[in-house]
């Protein structure tokens, strides 16, 4: 049951905060093959890799509405409150957010970055 319209990858989404990468197949607010759901932000979307259904999508991330950085939807990197905000920006403007969000953030530690490092090749 391979779908005829194999989801063509448009490129690789890379979170500018945590470095998560995944191929995306759509950017926008109306994911393909779906009529009943709209997204409330310009999102990077891939077909849900964990579902066999063609119309299942997965939102990978979007741009922070303050700094414009590409951030994944992971709770360590960004949050959505009527718009997408990356956590560094939220922290910077913490007072602008309702107390519920502030409380939420307090529970989290600052994200620790772990950049991948390569190993040396064999001499050849």
């Amino acid at each position: 049951m391979a779908s005829e319209t194999e989801h063509r990858s448009l490129g690789v989404f890379e979170c500018q905060l945590c470095g998560l990468t995944a191929p995306y197949s759509y950017v926008g607010q109306k994911p393909p093959n779906t009529q009943s759901v709209v997204l409330l932000e310009e999102s990077y979307v891939m077909k849900d890799p964990f579902s066999p259904d063609r119309d299942r999508f997965l939102v990978l991330g979007a741009r922070c509405s303050i700094c414009g950085k590409l951030a994944c939807v992971g709770p360590e990197c960004s949050l959505f409150y009527s718009k997408r905000f990356c956590l560094p920006c939220v922290r910077e403007h913490l007072s602008a957010f309702p107390p519920e969000i502030r409380q939420d953030l307090e529970k989290k530690k600052a994200p620790s970055s772990s950049g991948p490092s390569g190993r040396a090749c064999p001499r050849s």
């Binding site: 409330l40 969000i101 390569g118």
Partner: protein, 1183 residues
Amino acid sequence: MVSRARGGAWDRKLVGPRLCVSLSGHSMAPPRPREGRGHRDHRWAPSEEEALEKWDWDCPETRRRFEDAFFRDEDYIRQGSEDCHKFWAFFERLQRFQTLKTSKKEETDPGHPKHCVPALADLPRPYDSRYRINLSVLGPDMRDIRGSGSQLPPKRVSEFRRALLHYLDFSQKQAFTRLAKLQRDRAALPIAQYRKCILQTLKQHQVVVVAGDTGCGKSTQVPQYLLAAGFSHVACTQPRRIACISLAKRVGFESLSQYGSQVGYQIRFESTRSAATKIVFLTVGLLLRQIQREPSLPQYKVLIVDEVHERQLHNDFLLGVLQHLLPTRPDLKVVLMSATINIMLFSSYFGNAPVVQVPGRLFPITVIYQPQEAEQTASKSERLDPRPFLRVLEAIDNKYPAEERGDLLVFLSGMAEIGAVLEAAQTYASHTQRWVVLPLHSALSVADQDKVFDVAPPGVRKCILSTNIAETSVTIDGIRFVVDSGKVKEMSYDPQAKLQRLQEFWISQASAEQRKGRAGRTGPGVCYRLYAESDYDAFTPYPVPEIRRVALDALVLQMKSMSVGDPRTFPFIEPPPPASLETAIQYLQEQGALDASEALTPIGCLLAQLPVDVVIGKMLILGSMFSLAEPVLTIAAALSVQSPFPRSAQSSLECAAARQPLDSDQGDPFTLFNVFNAWVQVKAERSQNSRKWCRRRGVEEHRLYEMANLRRQFKDLLEDHGLLAGAEAATPGDSYSRLQQRRERRALHQLKRQHEEGAGRRRKVLRLQEEAEDGSSDEDHAGPAARHAEDSVDIQDVKFKLRHNLEQLQAAASSAQALSREQLVLLKLVLARGLYPQLAVPDPFNSGRKDSDQIFHTQAKQGAVLHPTSVFASSPELLHVQEPQATCGGGSRDDKDKMSSKHQLLTFVSLLETNKLYLVNCVRVPALQSLLLFSRSLDTNGDCSRLVADSWLELQVVDSEGAVQLLAAALRLRACWESALDRQLSHQARWRRREQQQRRQRLGEEDEDEEEAESVSRAEVAALSRELLQFMATKVPYSLRRLTGLEAQNLYVGPQTVTATPKLPGLFGSSALSPHPTKGGYRVTNFLTYNCLLSDTDLYSDCLRTFWTCPRCDLHLPLTPLERMAHESACATDLHGGPGAEEATTEQSRKPSALQRPYHCDSCQKDFLFTPTEALRHRRQHM
């Protein structure tokens, strides 16, 4: 059991922390729906309040109405889908959660100054969790809802809508968390650090060796790195089929194309490969077959050869082939992946290829040497002493608190040893209640193997008793303790006796380290070695490569068909023992697959294309000629899989009784045949019960599934090779039943998909005493869980029905039950000819022995016994000669030999040596006829009353006349059969060539009618069958005896005594009778040597003429047996020749023959060149 596990997992997911974050982190403000605008609320005033009070979300009708409105076919969630069920479960939790929260007061928003950053200026106030959801549902219009007649109160609609939003958000978060975890886990693998390095090295070199220990992630990651780097047409070989499937699944999942087709696998019975596939996992054997077809392997650009260190036969050969191929394919990249064992061997074999070495991820492991006392071996003869193993269990119980998790993995040498320890360990476990004991070996069903991955309840440890399968093939997480017996049972091959030996060996140091490493995968571990450190030091560094311990027939055959040159000089990475190669070549020559110059014969070509044992391949070819393809397919498949009858002692009594009606007194292959056919009938009639049916009879059902798969593959192969007419499209005529069939298939597909989705490999929790319950073979005793499993979908059954045409199989099975006696005899002949020379003769004293003491002798080995599952082990009288007739003179030296027409031999599929020498899969065949038809060498004395087959079995026939007749018939039949087979094969070869040509050129008609005519006609086969049956039915009393070694040595007269033999005419056509160079006597055909046996009567062979009347032409003369045979054959040709016979014979007589003499006829005054018989016949004309 599946659904139970699913439910459990589901519950966990719902109460999991993620939900808490998304729901409890912020207070649930009473809904202030944007959707259900205020003005509508008025219309629903008081009565609605009332309705709301009584509102019941659990009511199925209510739910259905909402589903009708929101979960339509075009919606994101569809009615009845799994998502739909998940939603309602989520909904219930949400409801419960909200009732808890409603008591909470609504916080008043203190009002907020507008923010200077525009993005922050219009943040909604007050806070509502809904604003945290980045999507919105375009639900159905309210008018639509009411229009459809189902009145949904707007308040409820918004409640529903809100829940739906939260659900979608929840599932987004869930999927994203999975994705993130996946990426994190991948990045954390040791090999991730080497990604760039591997890709860079591969760019610069044609061959790269990636060496890393288990757990470093090479098998799953390297293919993905290549994929991500833009490589396509990647093949990754695995030694085992199961690894192909699991890796393709894993890599597909990790590379986020689980449901795409980028990653596929291809194994013997299944392929998920398509045009879009970029990486395919396949078995080494399959890749070799692809090379066989297309030597330059144009379909791949990168080749990953995994597990090269295992030194599997096929892998070693593949490396040799690649070494050869690489210079001609400079664009082909090769990655060799190996454990960190003997890496330089591979690197230097490919011109010092660069090595990327990746450290494994191992925690420190403490090694404790606990050598066993020598005392135990003496007393208990064969059974393994389980006490040292129990001591370790005890030690763990005493030393480590039960709360500290960590399971135990015990390496034992074989199944019998596992059984011995299992019994003892289970007794211990039932006392302590702290262990769940599980066996693990390759003969277990997949479901049983899977149990080792389940988790033990708290405070209980798993104790897994395993063969070396857990050393590399199966990786179990959570192992903290390892017990290493230091032993392994391996098949070793004795090229001289052509005998497989299952022997126990000490393992190698590499294996010992591998076993130890299993304790340190998830944390620090302990490894108990049940041998001394000095033993370890004495182990060989590496295991013996397979090429040094197995039969090489199949390999040599494949090498021949791939034209890689003389196997003796092939540049193997490490060459096989020369003796093994020689034996293999000789064996293939004996089997007729190679000719004297070691080139492939037509039958050899065909056999090389069949991925089966040579003997089985021969059976298939022979069977298809006699229109016995269907039964032979089943038998060939049955003989190619492991026995479906497990050896567990307990259950076998009841099961054997239940199985008894299916036993065939002809032999074990026929019992298997019956079992398979009966099973197919069960499947066809009351499908769901086949599992139960198998259990009651002690039959391992998955072996039957394997048989069905293999049978299908054989059938395809025969069809592909033009040996079997392709099945006519068996689609039912009317459109209704076609529709019906399509519907059924769709339902099956859906079942399969559901199963695959649902079985997200959630680990179940094992129960204490699970084994004791499951061990019971009688389903009435099985626990509720087992019964539950019975009700659930039998996924094997679903797959089976998808893969096979059950109707066709059933038809084959029914026709098999109606097999006539004649067909059965022919079938046995086909088996016997295929299996020849695998023959055993019963010991003459067997009838006086106990059932269990029956012994048999093969040419090379004496004293073999029957495998306990054999029908002849339970009914040995089937092989006894029942009619002890008066012993007879006839020159017999051994008066004990019985004269009977019912002597039988056993033809067997394999010879297996463990503690005893076993004959496996035996069929009884009539001795005299089989030997006459199949022997590679037949030697006779002067009157043909004494025959020696293959220099080891002596037959003495009382009635020498009968013997001569039989011999003559055998000669004729063999020639006919051989020629029919030859023509069939060359016809097939031409057919195949044409087929290939057509495929290449797409040119339709090319003189095919002319070629078609040359195939063996049906009438000819029918005539041959008839004659064979007649031959098999002949009853001639004879004795059967195995020659002693001394006799075998002094069997022949030798070349110097040739003069004693009279000049005799050629037996058949023009074949010149020449003296045999070593045996003496005369070579009549390539297998028959006349009068070469050393015996007293030889001297008088000239005087053996007796008066004889030819039944055809009434000639009455004193003739020697050989003269008589010659006359008979000539006379028969006359008869067949018809009107032109006279000419034909004269034609024939003109051919030069050593025995023709000038003859002058006085009556007609002419000169002829006549053999004595011809002269006699000529003279008769004038009388």
